[in-house]
């Protein structure tokens, strides 16, 4: 009995150590965002704010453009998720339910394309968009994000559709349903949770992106959240309390969405190569 108890205590001690390790940077971020701009630049740094203040948040929200960055990120990430889910559902259904010439090669192409680095595409992409007059537009940025999100959406959705028995389709078709009706009325309702999970993953990948926004967006009013925050640090004197307030705002949406997605995370991550 005592040996079991020791094992139990050790497990929880280890878990608490893990929690401390994971939470400390978050704690530091939130704590610094609540300090005055004088306290945040005292040496050595204080652990907790001496005087709690929301000044940094007020300043960041009042700062020109910050709300706009937030809206831009929502718009670009939302549209990316919608586009890759729409195209992805059809492709996933095709891969899951049909046998056709070139299927294996195409599946491999979708999978391997997830391994390509974004910097390989960014140069030619830049030129393509300039030629099409799409440089410095959100539409161009959305298409660029789709290069990352579409392949994994297809693979993830295929995994969900594969779990449904083909008999569902066959039964519906015997009753006179067309292929499209099958997809919309039999398959889609059954994979709805998976579809939502896929869309949220795509949203988060787009939300966290910096490279594409940095290369394809020029006008300040069109910048996304990550780019706006990065530019705060690029300035001459960094106001750390304000920057930390901005990062708190930038982290909140992904953290909330991931926590809602908790249940799907394990299977989703194992089923495809997703990372924010």
């Amino acid at each position: 009995m005592p040996r079991l108890r020791i094992a139990w205590v050790m497990t929880y001690v280890a878990l608490l150590a893990m929690a401390l390790y994971n939470l400390l940077p978050f704690f530091w971020m939130v704590s610094s965002s609540l300090k005055t701009d004088i306290e945040v630049t005292t040496f050595p740094a204080t652990l907790l704010p001496r005087a709690l203040t929301f000044e940094a948040y007020h300043r960041i929200w009042a700062q020109e453009g910050f709300l706009q960055y937030f809206v831009n990120s929502l718009k670009v990430s939302g549209a990316t998720a919608l586009l890759s889910a729409t195209l992805g559902v059809f492709a996933a259904y095709g891969f899951s339910r049909f046998d056709f010439r070139g299927k294996r090669a195409l599946m491999l192409a979708f999978l391997a394309s997830q391994m390509l680095p974004g910097v390989l595409l960014v140069g030619p992409y830049f030129k393509m968009l300039s030629l099409a007059n799409l440089f410095d537009t959100h539409f161009g940025l959305i298409l660029a994000q789709t290069t990352i999100t579409l392949p994994f959406s297809v693979w993830m959705l295929k995994g969900y559709i594969d779990t449904l028995p083909v008999e569902i389709d066959q039964a519906a078709m015997i009753d006179g349903a067309s292929r499209w009706q099958c997809l919309f009325y039999c398959v889609l309702p059954n994979i709805l949770p998976g579809l939502v999970a896929t869309m949220i993953f795509a949203f988060l990948l787009a939300w966290g992106d910096l490279l594409w926004a940095l290369c394809l967006i020029n006008t300040p009013e069109k910048q996304t959240m990550t780019l706006g925050i990065t530019n705060l640090v690029g300035q001459f004197r960094v106001l750390w309390s304000d920057v930390m307030a901005a990062t708190v705002i930038g982290c909140m949406i992904p953290a909330a969405l991931y926590l809602m997605l908790q249940r799907y995370l394990v299977q989703g991550v194992a089923g495809s190569s997703v990372k924010g």
Binding site: A14, N22, R97, L116, L204, L210, S273
Partner: protein, 286 residues
């Protein structure tokens, strides 16, 4: 599976076309660009960009930085990820809470992580130096991000923190699929905790370990935001990886051909590294 010879194409076609246009086309253009066959290239066809790579000290350093960074980070991710996955695989009280905490670092966009750690490692106002001084590890503030070796170490530590939940999640999925009877059998045979881990857990986990290591390697090789936000590749080029190097050649020096050749080398490395994963994934999908 329903065997209609071409019907499947109607479903797969749109996504395939879009991918060919926004991914296939630029990828091919990049490869062509690296041998001076790209748009607006004035030089004749040639592999001079690749020849230049050989003699370029900055390229060598970036390659070396990438190698050190990826090997260290992936090893740390594996150690941390495996430990936490084993902890979370046990029956626990408040397991959901620990799971939530365990994945939190990974929810942070990488560039935001980079900015936060840039502040944490700050010489004067950062938390690391404040902590070190308070405990007595150091007697004066250390310039973490200003000294080449320390800067690389700091970036490695920061990314080790941010990325490990990803590896943990894949390993946890693997652990939960291990048949419980095998643990029972090992227990009946009198196996200890370590023996059970080596002879039951690890063999069952082999595929998931390969997947986790390969995917993590690919992600860490092309990491951009974390390093861009934390050091911008500096001091000098001490923390510059291949991704940042390509970015600089494109958008600071506007040397398209040379930038493409580095990107092509990086893409080739990634595709080769991803081979084991591609094989497993295709086999599973069929």
């Amino acid at each position: 599976m329903i065997g209609e010879r071409y019907t499947g194409w109607w479903f797969v076609g749109p996504a395939g076309l879009v991918m060919a246009l926004i991914l296939g086309f630029p990828a091919i253009a990049a490869v062509l660009g690296s041998v001076n066959l790209g748009w607006g290239s004035t030089k004749p066809f040639g592999i001079d960009s690749y020849l230049r790579l050989w003699g370029d000290a900055e390229f060598r350093q970036s390659l070396w930085n990438t190698a050190i960074f990826v090997v260290s980070v992936v090893s740390l991710h594996f150690l941390l990820g495996m430990s936490v996955a084993l902890l979370l695989d046990r029956p626990l009280r408040m397991r959901w809470l620990f799971r939530v905490i365990a994945i939190l670092p990974w929810t942070m966009p990488d560039v935001i992580g980079g900015i936060i750690f840039r502040f944490i490692f700050d010489t004067l106002y950062g938390g690391i130096n404040a902590l070190g001084l308070a405990i007595g590890w150091i007697d004066q503030p250390v310039d973490w991000l200003g000294r080449p070796g320390l800067a690389l170490l700091s970036v490695i530590l920061a990314e080790a923190w941010r990325g490990y939940p990803y590896v943990m999640l894949i390993l946890l999925a693997g652990l939960q699929a291990v048949p419980r009877e095998q643990y029972e059998a090992a227990k009946m045979d009198g196996a200890g905790a370590w023996q059970t881990f080596v002879y039951v857990t690890l063999p069952n986990l082999r595929t998931m370990i390969v997947i986790a290591l390969v995917l993590d390697t690919v992600w860490e090789c092309r990491l951009f935001g974390m390093i861009f936000g934390m050091t911008g590749g500096g001091p000098g080029q001490a923390t510059q990886n291949l991704t940042l190097l390509v970015y600089r050649h494109y958008f600071q020096f506007f040397d398209t051909a040379y930038a493409s050749s580095i990107a092509v080398v990086l893409a080739a490395i990634l595709l080769v590294a991803a081979m084991p994963y591609l094989r497993v994934a295709i086999r599973r999908a069929e």
